[in-house]
C-alpha cells in the first residue's frame, strides 16, 4: 500500500509538471518589447475624477513624504474649491508606499489598473521611482514625481517637477566658482543619487578648475562620520559638497562641528537639507548653504498665498520646503495640461503638455514636452538664525531642464 502511495505522489508531481509546461505554452510571445497595454479603464463620465496620491506614510521615509502628501491634499482642496479640473471634482485615492520600492510598484499598479485613477502623484526616493517606472509605462499611465533627483532619465509616462541635476547640482557648482572656491570635498551617502551627483560634480569641477580633495561615502543608515570628517579636517577644503541623505546628516554635522570645522573654515553646501531638516541637526548650522529651487523665504505673491494656505491648513509652525512646493505645483500643472488638452487621456495629455506653465510659489515654471521636466530657477540659500534660508545667489532666470546633460560638452557619461 505504501508503494502505491509513493507512486501516487510521483504521478501527482508529474501531472503538475505537465500543467506547468502547458501553462507556459499558454503564454503569448510577442515579437518585440513594445507595451501591449490594456485599454485605459479611467472613468471620465461622472463629475469627479480619481487621482492617486502615492507617498510613504509608514517606514523611514514617512516623515518626508507625509509633507508631500499634505501639499497634494492642499492643492486638491484648492482646485476643487475653484471648480475642479475640467469641471470635475478631484477624488483623491491615497496609498502608502511604506518606504519600500516593491510596495510602490505594487501600489501604483493597483492605482492605475484597479482604482483606475487618471494620474498618480508621489514617490520620493529614486528607488521608488525606478520601481514605479516599468509599471506606469506598462499600463500607459501618468506619474508626477516631485523630488529633485539624479537625472539621466526621461519617461513618456512620468512628469518630473523636482530639479534634475542641471537645475540644482550645476547651479551649486556655478555658485562655488563665483565664490572663488579652489578646493572641494565630496561627502555622500553610499547610493545612487550621491554617486551620480558626484560624478557630475567631478567632471564639472575639472572644467571650472576646482580641485576635488576628497570623496567619502558612508552606508545609508550609518551615523558614524568621525573617520571621514577627520579626512576633511586634514584636507582643509574651501567647501564641502554634501549629498548625504536623511538622518545620516545628523551624525555628519555633529562630527563636523566637534572636530572643529565650521562655516568660517570649510562651509558646507547641501542638496538635501531644507527648512524641515535644518532645525533637527543638533547643532547651530547658521551660515551653511543649500541649493534648491524653492525656499520658504522666496518672495512671490504665489508663495505668500501658498504659505498662508498651508499654515492655515496644517498649523502656523509648519515650514514649507522644495519637494512640498514641487508636489503642490505638480497638481496645478496637471490641471493646466488637462484643461489645455481638454481630455484626461494620457496620449492627449502628453500631446498638449509642451509649454504649459504655472505661476508656482518658486516663480513661473514651464513644462518641456520633450523630456517632461520643467524649467526652474536655481537658488542658493544661506541658513540664518531662524533656520530659514536667505537667498544669496540665483541663476539667471529659469534653467531649461537637461536630464542627460546633452548641452554640456564637458560631460562624458562613460567616464568614471
Amino acid at each position: 500500500m505504501s508503494t502505491s502511495r509513493t507512486r501516487l505522489a510521483a504521478s501527482t508531481a508529474a501531472a503538475l509538471a505537465a500543467a506547468l509546461v502547458l501553462s507556459s505554452c499558454g503564454g503569448s510571445k510577442s515579437d518585440d518589447g513594445s507595451a501591449a497595454a490594456a485599454d485605459s479603464c479611467v472613468d471620465t463620465s461622472g463629475d469627479t475624477i480619481k487621482l492617486g496620491f502615492l507617498n510613504s506614510t509608514s517606514g523611514a521615509m514617512a516623515i518626508s513624504e507625509q509633507t508631500v502628501r499634505d501639499s497634494l491634499l492642499l492643492a486638491a482642496k484648492e482646485i476643487n474649491a475653484d471648480g475642479g479640473i475640467l469641471g470635475k471634482q478631484i477624488e483623491p485615492v491615497e496609498e502608502d508606499g511604506a518606504s519600500d520600492p516593491a510596495v510602490f510598484a505594487e501600489k501604483i499598479g493597483k492605482l492605475l489598473t484597479s482604482d483606475c485613477v487618471a494620474a498618480v502623484f508621489g514617490g520620493w526616493t529614486s528607488a521608488s521611482r525606478k520601481a514605479m517606472l516599468p509599471v506606469v509605462e506598462g499600463s500607459n499611465g501618468l506619474l508626477f514625481y516631485p523630488v529633485q533627483y539624479e537625472g539621466l532619465e526621461a519617461s513618456e509616462n512620468i512628469y518630473y517637477t523636482g530639479a534634475t541635476t542641471n537645475q540644482q547640482i550645476i547651479p551649486a557648482m556655478d555658485f562655488l566658482a563665483s565664490k572663488g572656491v579652489k578646493t572641494l570635498f565630496l561627502a555622500g551617502s553610499d547610493y545612487v543619487f550621491p554617486r551620480t551627483a558626484n560624478k557630475i560634480i567631478k567632471q564639472y569641477a575639472a572644467e571650472l578648475g576646482i580641485e576635488i580633495v576628497g570623496e567619502e561615502y558612508v552606508p545609508l543608515d550609518s551615523d558614524d562620520w568621525s573617520t571621514q570628517v577627520a579626512k576633511i579636517v586634514k584636507a582643509k577644503p574651501d567647501f564641502v559638497f554634501n549629498t548625504i541623505n536623511g538622518s545620516s546628516n545628523v551624525g555628519f554635522i555633529k562630527a563636523y562641528y566637534e572636530q572643529g570645522l565650521g562655516p568660517d573654515t570649510s562651509p558646507i553646501i547641501s542638496v538635501s537639507i531644507a527648512e524641515e531638516e535644518a532645525p533637527a541637526m543638533g547643532k547651530d548650522v547658521t551660515g551653511q548653504f543649500a541649493a534648491w529651487n524653492y525656499f520658504q523665504s522666496v518672495e512671490t505673491p504665489a508663495n505668500e498665498a501658498f504659505i498662508e494656505a498651508f499654515q492655515a491648513e496644517y498649523g502656523a509652525d509648519r515650514p514649507t520646503s522644495d519637494p512640498m512646493e514641487a508636489a503642490y505645483t505638480s497638481l496645478y500643472l496637471y490641471k493646466n495640461i488637462v484643461e489645455k488638452a481638454e481630455s484626461f487621456d494620457v496620449d492627449d495629455v502628453n500631446a498638449a503638455s509642451d509649454g504649459v506653465s504655472f505661476d508656482a510659489p518658486e516663480g513661473t515654471v514651464t513644462i518641456d514636452g520633450e523630456n517632461h521636466h520643467i524649467a526652474k530657477t536655481g537658488l542658493i540659500g544661506r541658513i540664518n538664525a531662524e533656520n530659514q534660508f536667505d537667498v544669496v545667489w540665483s541663476s539667471e532666470g529659469p534653467i531649461e531642464p537637461d536630464p542627460f546633460l546633452e548641452g554640456y560638452d564637458w560631460w562624458d557619461p562613460s567616464a568614471e
Binding site: 561615502y217 558612508v218 550609518s222 573617520t227 579636517v233 545628523v250 555633529k254 572636530q259
Partner: protein, 294 residues
Amino acid sequence: MESFTTPLLTGTSTGAILLIAALGLALTFGQMGVINMAHGEFLMAGAYTTYLTQQVVSSADVSVLLAIPVAFLVAGLLGLALEAGIIRWMYHRPLDTLLVTVGVGMVLQQLAKDLFGAQGDPVREPGWLQGNLTVLGYHWPYTRMFTIVLAVVALGGLAALLKRTRFGRQIRATVQNRDLAETMGISTRRVDRITFFVGSGLAGVGGVAVALASGTNPTLGTSYIIPAFLVVVAGGLGQLRGTVLAAWLVGVVTAFLTDWFSGSTAQVITFALVVVFLQVRPQGLFTVRTRGLA
C-alpha cells in the same frame, strides 16, 4: 601618524559604545541565555530619554549628567516590564524569546516614530564637552572621549556588582546551578528580574552615549544590535574580559577598514572576520552536557 591615530581613536570610542551595548547583552544573554532583540530599542529609549531630559532641564551642562541615571532607570524598567510580562514565560524557549523580542522591538520603534517623529531629534552636548583635544594630528572631540569614560564606568560598575556584592554572588550561583541556588534560599525569580533590569539599564546608558555621538532617531537601535551581539559571541560567554577586548577590536578594526576602503566594505569585512574568527576559536560557543542529554 595621523592615518594611524585617527582610526585608532575613533575606533576606540565606537568600541566604547559597542561595549556598553554589549555589556547589557552579555548579562542578559550570557548569564540568562535570553536573547533580547529589543536591546537595541532600549538603547534608543536611552537616547530619547537624553533628549527628553534636555527638554525638561534646559541646561545641557546638567541635563546630560542627569540623563545617565534616568536613562538607566527608563531602559531598566522597560527591561523589567519585558521580563515580567513576556520573557519569564519563555525561559525554556530561548529561540522563541528571540522572535518575541523582535516583535517588541518593532512595536517600540513604531512607538518612537509616532511619539517623536521619524526624523530624529537633536541632543546638544554640555558646554564642558564642547571642543576637542588634538592627539597626534587628530582633533578628538570631548564627547567621543566621554563615551569611553562612560564605558569604563559601566564596566567597572558591572564588575563590582558581579564580583563584590551579595547580589553578584547570587547571580553567579544562579547561572551555575539554578536548582542548587534555589535550595540555598536564593529567589531565582528575583535574581532573573534584577539581572534583566541591570542589563537593560546598561543599554539605556549606552543610549546616552549614542545620543551624544549622533543624536536620536527611532531606528538607531537596529544599527547597534547585530554588532553588539557579534561582540558578545566573539568575546565568549560569561567573560567580561572577552567582551571588552572584542568590542574594542570590532570598533578599531571597523574604523581602520573604513579609513582604508569605505564604510560599507568595512561592515562586510568585519562580519567575515567574525565568522572566520569563530572558525578558529569557537570556544564558549557550545557547551556539551553529559549524564542527562536533554
